[in-house]
Amino acid sequence: MEQKKYVIRQISVFSENKPGRLAAIAKALQEEGINILAFSIAEADGFGVVRALVDKPQKAYEKLSGIGFNVAFTDVIAVQMKDVPGGLYEIARILGEGTINIEYSYAYSGKEAAVLILRVDNVDAAISAIRNGGGTLLESTQFQ
């Protein structure tokens, strides 16, 4: 149970790959006063998935669904990285040694530190591995 606090709810939004779709998503979030903390766009042929960490995920889900978007919650974790060469290697090594697969990932470099958002195949195992390996996980309350 202890580990649950590290699980962060990311919103994933299906979007057609055409001008104005990201603007439509961002505008809807702005209207609800929802802040986007980190986000990425994954693109495939003709469509994409917008993934975002927001401060009010439930509200974002309702708003975007309400205006017709396909939205899903996905569990991710956030790891603090040293903002120095080798920072990413340290995290990636821990996960690799624990045979945990990274499905996708995106990062931002904030004021305090660099943060790596990870979607992994086994969230619980990843949390244990990172904590035992000396990494620093961010709690979901720091975002949401």
């Binding site: 994933s12 299906f14 979007s15 495939a44 042929d45 469509f47 017709g68 939205v71 899903a72 979607r119």
Partner: protein, 423 residues
Amino acid sequence: MPRDDIRRLQYRLLKTLVYRLYSFSPFYHDRMKEAGVHPDDIRTLGDIRKLPFMVKRDLRDNYPDKLFVAGQEDLVRYHVSSGTTGKPTVVGYTQNDLNNWTASLARGLVSCGLSRGDVLQVSYGYGLFTGGLGLHYGAERIGATVLPTSIGNTERQIELMQDLHTTAIACTPSYLLHIGEVAEKMGVSIRDDTSLRIGILGAEPWSDSMKARIEEWLGIKAYDIYGTSELSGPMFCECTEQNGFHVWADLAYVEILDPATGEQLGPGEKGEMVITMLQKEALPMIRFRIGDITSYDDDVCGCGRTHPRVHRISGRVDDMLIIRGINVFPSQVEYTLMTIPEVGEHFMIEVDRKGALDDMLVKVEVTREAFSDKITDLMAIRKNVEHRLRNALNVAVNVELVEPGSLPRFEGKAKRVIDRRKI
């Protein structure tokens, strides 16, 4: 054959056909009872208008062979084409059916100037589709040399066309344009570097301007050929006059009807074509509403033939599309999508012509339940839909996933097709 003799022959064949169906086809027997017609009511050729129609749906509803009036032991071949929804249509042939089909094409090929000494490259598909085998046997019957290339592998087709001195080709008009384009890329001019002089082109709609373009660019004569699997396959071909295809009157009786009232229209008037096959044994077709719009002429042709001529098909009474020579009904797409839970029932079909070839795109909405954060899952859904549509339609389809609710909703008659081809 003089006109009066033709009409007498047609009447005799019709009378025999109707008696035979009334006696041996439970389906048509019931249809006639419902319409209150007895074979004895057919006293003149004009009485054909008393007979009930058949439509493509009848073949699907009686899948696979319930409309056949020949036993399986009398059949020598099957062909299969796509139906309007999930079920395909099966056509069976007795030996006489094949003989008549072959004879019909043999006459047509002779009428447009083919003979012994010509090399006909048959670039229609061989197999379940009727085009390849139909032309193949028709050409062999007149002693022409057949080069059975079927469709695809265009560069090889062009090499063989040069090496074996092809003089005539049978394929869809768009495929011939594609051949012309590929040849140019290979540095081959169809006009100057091959012996090609005749194109026997059909299985898809094409216009007079497309014909003019083909003739001018490739330096050949382009003849229209017409048919559907229900009639046997490709059946009727234009003569050297290039003024409509001759419908051999001993094999078929053609009517042009006002689609709204069902009244028979006269020569030159545009309407829905209805064909009765007068001699088919295994799968008789009476007053078959194919759905094509055109007009006919029955004056004596410049070539001297007295058989009526039907002009180039100018449209459809329904929403059928022809994609690379294959009939596609939006209802087939709908039916297929309904069996795939990951996508909704709304769809749009967009058809373009990329180069010379048709390109069909189907847009579908991903359901909320099926939406996954993983791109690979979404790609798998798309692949699956493409695969299922391809199997159902017999033609390659591109699928695009779109946002839920983004496709148009229709009240009443849906318009789910955007056809941007300029034919």
